[in-house]
């Protein structure tokens, strides 16, 4: 499958009509880079903390917002970003989390990471969707 796309000069200062329908290889969503970012954020926010029902909702919101704003700084133009965070208490119960997506597998991708300590677990997934 051959993709033809016009390479335009990217100028972040002005808005111009670019007619690109595919990102260049350098501008594609890179799961490994985002995965490291998520891992650092989770360790910083939750490292050594105990599950506290009053604070957990704030933690989950702040992790989601912080991961989203950090991914925005990575410079993925034309990508829409969805970040999902699930934090739960560790009581030995069974949990399963996963997702199915309908997207363009050439351009879209996801990154996910799990953080666990003795009292809580946190699963974060970031989805990057190209906007044509």
């Amino acid at each position: 499958l051959i993709h033809f796309y016009k390479r335009t000069s990217v100028d972040y200062g002005t808005e111009e009509c670019s007619f690109t329908i595919r990102p260049d290889f350098a501008g594609k969503f890179k799961p490994m880079q985002v995965k490291e970012l998520i891992a650092t954020t989770l360790n910083d926010t939750l490292g050594g903390r105990l599950y506290d029902p009053n604070k957990v909702s704030n933690w989950s919101k702040s992790i989601a917002d912080s991961v989203k704003s950090q991914v925005k700084t990575l410079g993925y133009d034309r990508y829409k970003i969805v970040v999902e965070v699930v934090i739960g208490e560790q009581r030995g119960e069974g949990v399963r989390m996963g997702s199915r997506c309908l997207w363009d597998s050439d351009t879209d991708n996801y990154a996910s990471e799990v953080y666990m300590n003795d009292s809580l677990f946190c699963c974060t997934a970031v989805f990057g969707l190209y906007y044509y």
């Binding site: 029902p53 989950s60 970003i81 969805v82 699930v86 934090i87 949990v95 997207w103």
Partner: protein, 125 residues
């Protein structure tokens, strides 16, 4: 003889139906998710060997039905299934998209032994 008022009512309904067929419409997505979950999990008891199957079935069937709606959206369906053991769970999401055209729906379901949370995000093309 059709009066002027009747025609405009029908036209209005037709236009409304056409508009709903194009946009992200939470109620119909909620209906899809609730039907799929009651069909797949229903009142069954949580068992670690069945969870994988339930999870796959729920996400795949919801996705297939969303595709069947024929809208111009990319879909992400996430499902969390948890055993009821008195533990707490918080789910949140943060999105960078066009708020006029894109949207998401979160649906929770529980029976005596299981908690299920399904999130659907629709991103317009």
């Amino acid at each position: 003889m059709i009066s002027a008022e009747e025609v405009t009512d029908e036209e209005k309904q037709a236009k409304e139906a056409e508009r709903l067929a194009r946009i992200f419409h939470p109620p119909e997505i909620n209906d899809i998710i609730s039907e799929v979950i009651t069909e797949v999990v229903g009142q069954q008891t949580y068992h670690y060997s069945k969870v994988g199957e339930w999870h796959g079935n729920i996400t795949e069937q919801v996705l297939q039905r969303l595709v069947g709606l024929g809208k111009g959206f990319k879909w992400i369906v996430t499902c969390v299934i948890m055993q009821k053991a008195g533990a707490g769970l918080h789910a949140s999401h943060s999105c960078y998209w066009d708020a006029k055209t894109d949207g998401s729906v979160t649906y929770t379901y529980d029976n005596r032994t299981t908690n299920v949370v399904v999130q659907v995000h629709g991103v317009s093309i």
